[in-house]
Symmetry: C2
Subunit: 292 residues, 2 copies
């Protein structure tokens, strides 16, 4: 079944000059096995000649990775305070929704959020009531804002990316005035690249926020990692052509993030920093910035 092409120089198949192994040069029946833990490295390959495989292959280098970060639940620990603030604001309009249903909608555009909640309750609200609701939510949130902190590793992650020259931006469904408060928690200046709800036509799960953030820092969204804590981030990432990374720090389960398309799921920014090599950003965690 399997043919060993060259017993004497098997390692040449995986020589360091080969960085890209095109799928199409292997027939569909081809198989490669590397038996480790033996004194000699045995390579068994069928369907491709050894000399062809050992040649260097010209290919387009992948673009340098960049990052587009959601804010609430991804960089700052504010999701539960937002949830309670929405619950209280809705209750004042006599809309009594179970709190977990509000949690599951956080991170959507405010408009979609309100529509979705009203659909679940069978209620309708005037434009005036919706404006009141959003103001009330802001007031309820600001009353609790002292308990909001940066998520573990978030300031370090952003500082380390900057020091490595990796481009990044923030893209949040929140309004500018709320987002600027968060920048202080993250030790960031006010002029950091950030796209807020008021700067785009549609919020998540539409891709606008991430497309605008990519444009702002001059990167192709297809080479960017979208990092977010909710399914809405991950769905918007896919619509933007980007790969999504999920964080558990917004309180959602690992499986729901994976099912929404997360390439990887980490606990929080601290763990992402530690495992950034999985995202093609090497040696981040080995710097002094990255370890504390």
């Amino acid at each position: 079944m399997f043919v060993l092409p060259d017993e004497h120089q098997p390692a040449r198949l995986f020589a360091p000059t080969i960085r890209y192994f095109p799928r199409l040069t292997l027939s569909s029946r081809a198989a490669a096995t590397v038996a480790l833990g033996q004194p000699e490295l045995n390579v068994t390959v069928a369907g491709v000649t050894e000399s062809r495989a050992a040649e260097q292959v010209e290919y387009e280098q992948p673009a340098a990775p960049s990052f587009l970060f959601d804010l609430d639940g991804t960089l700052i620990d504010s999701v539960y305070q937002h949830v309670i603030a929405w619950r209280n604001a809705l209750a004042k309009l006599d809309i009594n929704l179970s709190v977990w249903r509000i949690h599951r909608r956080i991170g959507m555009s405010g408009g979609l959020f309100v529509s979705a909640l009203l659909r679940e309750t069978g209620r309708s609200l005037s434009a005036h009531d919706i404006e009141l609701l959003q103001q009330d939510h802001a007031a309820e949130y600001l009353a609790q804002v002292d308990s909001v902190t940066a998520l573990p590793g978030a300031p370090q992650l952003l500082a380390t990316l900057t020091s490595f020259g990796v481009r990044w931006a923030i893209a949040t469904s929140g309004r500018r005035v709320m987002a600027e408060q968060a920048l202080r928690l993250l030790d960031l200046p006010a002029d950091v690249p950030m796209v807020t709800r008021d700067m785009v036509q549609h919020a998540k799960p539409d891709p606008d926020l991430f497309l605008a953030a990519a444009a702002l820092i001059g990167v192709d969204p297809r080479s960017a990692w979208v990092v977010g804590d909710s399914v809405w981030d991950l769905l918007a990432a896919r619509r933007a052509g980007a790969l999504g990374v999920g964080l558990l720090s917004g309180g959602y389960g690992r499986e729901e993030l994976e099912r929404a398309g997360a390439y990887r799921v980490y606990n929080d920014p601290a763990e992402l920093l530690l495992r950034a090599d999985e995202l093609g950003v090497r040696n981040l965690a080995s710097t002094p910035d990255g370890t504390d």
Copy 2:
């Protein structure tokens, strides 16, 4: 491969007199296929004779189902308020934990909860500090208790079970004084069967609370449904020999509840009431009590 035992009376295999089909009468190679959507019902069976299958089988009737309910996140909508209360109480001791990590521990015994959180932070606390922490959590929770309501369908579910003569009890990791507040939200008298943290040696995920609740209403835990919103309920259910039913109303993901062993997962008590036939309690939802 497959043998059709009797072409003329294939439907007798599924005659209404057969309520129990013992596995051991089928050989391991046996297979049954029912082709639906055809004018005739075709049944193909191998490895069992048609006459044997059509006999009535004597067997032990399963016990009538009963229910052991968790309280917070299962019957009342209090999880997020508890989470924020713990966050604020811990912050006063300068323990800054991400809020999602607190959420993931809610529903454990208070002792295990504090140990788990301290392990994650590498801190230790004196017995005095732990007592202060629990008092502070209670005070922070009570400050928000006005925003706590019954979950949709909870009062109706309990009233309907009672009117059908289905036995049920409440088993909560919370203290008596907190739990009694909840009874009012559920339109329940103070003497309802309820086991609280102070009545057993260990809380969830130990099985004590559910074993005590089953004893209190005189049922075998193996015939009881444990209904809860957290993985700790479902793990404790398995240790009590009971089957667990998960509710999403505590804010956890469906998949994490399924992975912890949930037999079924519903949104909230209202959906459980609607689908109680899946738990062997028939016609609950068809009563006037069950539909509103």
